[in-house]
């Protein structure tokens, strides 16, 4: 039997090609993901290991108990020069390095922030005994000295075009500084490797800038030759103030970081594998379809095998062996392609600016094993049903001279099961929309519904494709024949369309959800805001109160209010108070008051959001005691209850009331109104008024909306890219089905040609059939996607009050167009083949 199976594979090379391609793509995706993630994670681990080369023991401040955790307050820094000296003196220590670090914004030549704000860091150049810092070898220039100099990492300097000697605008804690660039250095620092920037100052300057005068955030000690990290650690432990600092070995730190990297990569790997799984799932339909058709075509041959004495099991086995061979070929080629994809992805990431550390391509044995198993197992599983069907062919079928017609076994059982699944699934999804926590129910329901629709697709094919009849009639006889052919074998059409349906369901669903959530978040962020501009830190860290003061002093500005957080306690439980400028607050926001009103926000009068009011049982007029952050007690009175949102929520107090109790003030953001409202000139004058500070972002409502929509479209585009794989596999499926149909119907096509249908007519017939099947899959997928999108939205709206369903009609049209394009593209080759068919051979063939 094995030889028979093998011969069959070879005999149907062309027909199996698409199957191999489908499995191959899925396997390539899987192995590509595995290769890529292990390569990257190895590279990161190698680089982080390198980063700890100079660290044998690191001394870090023990995490403080105070919630604000603001360093550099009245207390002295815990890691100071004295401790550094002590650490350097312990037996076995070769040298000790003190580091300080913090946020540092660097402006490019146009004055705008370099980088994304989250990975722009600054640190100190800690000159060792030889006057050099081993961590940062200078590529050009010299180490920074004094408060007016700094050094910049080579990557950032090259990006911005800065050279040694340039004067660069930068900002650490608010005010803009102009520093002279004295050196450009190279580094293994992880942030820089990932595309961030690193600016270095001399140690005293860095300590001052990062609010740690005389202190360090970490002391790294290098062991003398012959001293182990653990021995050094125990020596250092002896000199450390136990309550304030702790020592960790470099190895431990490297391991911790390695674990963190592995965890991060795991998340990414899982995400990518989900999409690989989707592509493979789609592939299953195509494999099953191919083998069903192959078995149908070989009915006579298989029956002959049975007639000459092959058992049922042998027949099934021959089909499965064939599947195994196909699966193995696909898996091996897929894995090879996957290694290429892994390498390509890394190159792609490098070119988009997210610098990935160099390292060898890692193809682990488990990657190889998983890829091969996935390819073979999926193929064999998908061929299982066709294999069983093959075994059921009666030996007498061999004697029939007539072409065995496809079994027209009734679809009643299938339809009943499908209807049950779909009904239960739809009910589950609908019930879940009404539940407060219906995620699991909805997920299960969606899955059932999807399965139900798969099963029902053959039933749905007739009425849905009949809808296209009026359009097809316009194409004359070709259109009519195409429609008939499309519904001729409902199972086959269904399996082909289903493959496309999966991809489009996901794409549409995600688009609907993302569009709706984006609208919701956008609304939430901008709805209650009437301020012309909002000023915040580029990295969303707290702002210096100087910013609000400076804005208040500008002529342009008519109203200013910071949003200021102050921890407090009410009835013994922690509760954050939001401080605002009570005088201007009403002009800058439009809060929706359910009870009472803003009134005169001064002294002890506050407004409270509905959630807090409900929790505490407050009404306008309620008075409550409060313990401020400095421990002093007071009493506040509720004057209004408003509907809270993402931006403004909680208990809102006038800043003047808070000021006496606050040691250190930071603002989350500052809202501003200008004389001219929002205009380029107004923005310009605000930016100028703030000293063109690269660390500050001045945004109006439109900017906020834009940044939200940018984030969403970036995410959606990535998802589209990943789902494209499933669509490509579906295209292969359509090609496969059409090619086989053309082959099976060659006699008919020959007859049509003989009685006068020209090549164009034949081509058109095949193309239209492809189009109809693809659009059928597209309509089903888009329909399901919209339904799932709506249902998921109902769940989301529970946690996002401003959520509203947005149906992106343009996009939906685009997806339908995509389905049509799939149909047209997939038909190119089969249609050509049909038109080129040798008419005489086709007619004569029996």
């Amino acid at each position: 039997m094995f030889r028979t199976a093998l011969r069959n594979v070879l005999a149907h090379k062309a027909r199996l090609l698409m199957t191999v391609l489908a499995v191959m793509l899925g396997v390539a995706f899987v192995s590509g993901t595995l290769v890529f993630t292990s390569t990257i994670s190895d590279a990161y681990q190698a680089s982080s290991q390198k980063g700890y080369d100079n660290v044998d023991v690191a001394v870090q401040q023990r995490s403080s108990d105070s919630p604000s955790g603001a360093p550099g307050g009245d207390s002295k820094p815990k890691l100071d020069q004295k401790l550094l000296d002590k650490a350097a003196q312990v037996p076995g220590a070769a040298s000790a390095t003190g580091t300080v670090s913090g946020f540092t914004a660097i402006a490019d030549k146009k004055g705008e922030l370099l980088g994304n704000g989250f990975s722009t860091t600054g640190g100190n150049y800690f000159a060792g005994k030889d006057g050099k810092d081993a961590r940062y070898p200078m590529r050009s220039g010299a180490a920074p000295k004094g408060p007016h100099e700094f050094a910049l990492d080579a990557h950032t300097a090259d990006k911005a075009g800065y050279k040694v000697g340039d004067t660069v605008r930068l900002s650490v804690d608010g005010p803009v500084r102009e520093q002279k660039l004295t050196g450009i250095f190279t580094t293994d620092d992880g942030t820089v490797a990932a595309g961030g920037s690193l600016a270095l100052f001399d140690t005293p300057t860095a300590q001052k800038l990062f609010a740690m005068p005389g202190g360090f955030s970490e002391i790294d000690v290098k062991a003398a030759p012959g001293t182990s990290q653990n021995a050094l650690k125990s020596e250092i432990d002896k000199v450390l103030p136990k309550d304030a600092a702790e020592a960790t070995t470099g190895k431990q730190l490297a391991d911790d970081q390695a674990k963190m990297i592995a965890k991060k990569m795991d998340g990414m790997k899982t995400g990518l594998l989900v999409f690989a799984g989707i592509a493979l799932f789609v592939g299953v339909f195509i494999i099953a379809n191919t083998f069903t058709m192959l078995v149908a075509q070989r009915t006579k041959e298989l029956a002959l095998l049975r007639a000459v004495g092959a058992s049922r099991r042998q027949v099934t086995r021959s089909v499965l062996i064939e599947a195994t061979v196909v699966g193995a070929i696909a898996a091996v080629t897929g894995m090879a392609a996957g290694i290429g994809i892994g390498a390509g992805l890394r190159a792609l990431m490098n070119s988009t600016g997210a610098t990935v550390p160099d390292g060898p391509l890692v193809v682990s044995p488990s990657t190889v094993l998983i890829s091969l198993l996935v390819g073979i197992v999926i193929t064999v599983l998908a061929a299982w049903l066709p294999g069983r069907r093959a075994a059921k062919i009666p030996p007498v079928a061999a004697m029939n001279s007539v072409h065995a017609t496809a079994t027209t076994k009734s679809l009643v059982v299938r339809n009943t099961i499908g209807a049950l699944f779909a009904g239960a699934g739809a009910a589950g999804v609908l019930v879940a929309t009404g539940m407060s926590d219906g995620k699991a129910v909805m997920g299960g329901g969606a899955f059932l519904l999807l399965i139900g629709v798969f099963i029902l697709t053959p039933l749905l094919s007739r009425p849905l494709i009949a809808l296209a009849a009026p359009v097809l009639r316009a194409f004359g006889i070709s259109g009519g024949l195409a429609r008939q052919n499309a519904v001729r074998n409902p199972r086959r059409t269904a399996a082909t369309a289903s493959a496309l349906m999966v991809g489009l369901t996901l794409i549409t669903g995600l688009t609907v959800i993302a569009g709706s959530v984006q609208k919701g978040i956008d609304k939430m962020a901008t709805e209650s805001l009437t301020a012309d501009y909002v000023v915040s830190m580029a990295n969303s860290l707290p702002l210096s109160p100087d910013v609000a003061k400076k804005l208040d002093g500008l002529d342009e500005v008519t109203a200013v209010s910071p949003l200021r957080m102050s921890p407090s306690r009410i009835d013994g439980t922690p509760q954050s108070l939001t401080g605002v400028n009570g005088k201007d607050f009403g002009k800058l926001t439009k809060l929706d008051f359910t009870k009472g009103g803003l009134g005169d926000l001064q002294g002890g009068r506050v407004v409270v959001d509905d959630a807090t009011a409900k929790e505490k049982g407050w009404q306008p007029g309620s008075r409550f005691p409060v313990t401020f952050e400095d421990g002093k007690k007071g009493t506040l009175t509720v004057s209004g209850v408003y509907q809270g949102n993402q931006m403004i929520h909680g208990i809102i107090v006038d800043n003047a009331t808070l000021a006496p109790h606050q040691k250190q003030v930071t603002d989350r953001q500052v809202m501003v109104n200008t004389k001219d409202g929002t205009s380029d000139a107004a923005k310009e004058s605000l930016v100028k008024g703030l000293g063109k500070n690269p660390a500050l972002a001045v945004s109006d409502k439109k900017d906020i909306s834009e940044s939200i929509s940018q984030a969403f479209s970036l995410m959606l585009n990535m998802l589209y890219g990943l789902l494209a794989m499933a669509v490509i596999v579906a295209v292969l499926g359509v090609i496969n089905t059409l090619a086989m149909s053309v082959f099976e119907r060659s006699q008919e096509i020959g007859m049509l040609r003989a009685i006068g249908l020209d090549r164009r007519g034949i081509k058109r017939m095949v193309r239209l059939e492809s189009l109809v099947i693809s659009l059928f899959g597209g309509v089903l997928g888009i329909g399901l996607g919209v339904f799932f999108g709506w249902a998921a939205g109902e769940l989301i709206s529970g946690s996002l009050a401003t959520y509203e369903l947005v149906l992106p009609w343009g996009r939906i049209g685009l997806f339908l167009g995509l389905a049509a394009l799939v149909g047209v593209l997939a038909a190119l080759w089969p249609a050509r083949r049909a038109a080129r068919l040798n008419m005489l051979a086709a007619i004569k063939a029996e």
Partner: protein, 260 residues
């Protein structure tokens, strides 16, 4: 006997020529493997006549039909349908010619399983985008006795009925000539006789021109004339054949073959 002009023997019938082959040659392959399927065949097929082409396997009878019907290309000489010269016609023109002027009946029926009987019958006209002539269509359907089965699919019809649908399909568009390739090859003798009867009636009553390839002497006896082919040449031309005469003639070929 010179088969150049058969008008001598059928002078009493209409003499207009529906299709004509002049020195028609068909060669397959090249060099060593070259096979001459038709060797300078010249023959006329007259209007409103039922002509049978006979000959042993490999005599070139099917090739002659395929070349005359524009289904296969011609290596040399000329083939005409009515006034149209087939040599040199591009595929598109050839397709149009087949569509508008030629009807086909195949051995394997070759109906579209997705279409019902009526749709199969009107298929050539649907392809051409023409409306069928209702009265004519009814008459054709009546003639082949399919009136009650027009809504049936081919799979619901017997072999004989399917071939009758094929005959109706060929007749419905009133082609200048119908080519039938072993139309009774897949039928039992009774159904075969029915189909042949319809073909003869269509010639007698409707004035249709029919050219039929067959190897069955009984089938050939329904024709007005039998043209015998052997080794790619026309070797005999028999007017008003009977089954016995044809059988005798065929035996003659076999004997000659055995002795040669």
């Amino acid at each position: 006997m010179t088969p150049t002009h058969s008008g001598v023997t059928t002078a009493q019938r209409a003499t207009a020529v529906a299709a004509r082959a002049t020195d028609l040659s068909k060669v397959y392959g090249q060099g060593e493997t070259q096979v001459v399927a038709l060797d300078a065949v010249s023959v006329d097929f007259h209007q409103a006549q039922f002509t049978a082409i006979m000959g042993p396997s490999g005599s070139g009878k099917s090739t002659l039909m395929h070349c005359m019907a524009g289904l296969d290309s011609i290596s040399g000489g000329s083939a005409r349908i009515g006034d149209t010269e087939l040599t040199g016609l591009k595929d598109k023109k050839l397709t149009q010619l087949r569509r508008d002027k030629i009807g086909f009946i195949f051995q394997a029926f070759n109906l579209l399983p997705t279409l019902n009987a009526l749709e199969n019958i009107t298929l050539p006209m649907d392809i051409a985008g023409r409306k069928p002539d209702r009265a004519w269509l009814d008459r054709v359907v009546e003639t082949v006795g399919l009136s009650g089965r027009l809504k049936h699919r081919p799979s619901q019809l017997s072999g004989g009925q399917q071939q009758r649908v094929a005959v109706a399909r060929a007749l419905a568009s009133r082609p200048e000539i119908i080519f039938a390739d072993e139309p009774t090859g897949n039928l039992d003798s009774r159904s075969g006789a029915e189909v042949l009867g319809f073909l003869r009636n269509s010639v007698r009553e409707l004035g249709q021109t029919v050219v039929m390839v067959t190897h069955d002497p009984v089938a050939a006896s329904y024709a007005n004339r039998v043209v015998f082919l052997a080794d790619g040449r026309i070797v005999d031309d028999m007017p008003d054949p009977t089954a016995d005469l044809v059988l005798e003639r065929m035996k003659g070929f076999d004997a000659k073959r055995r002795t040669s």
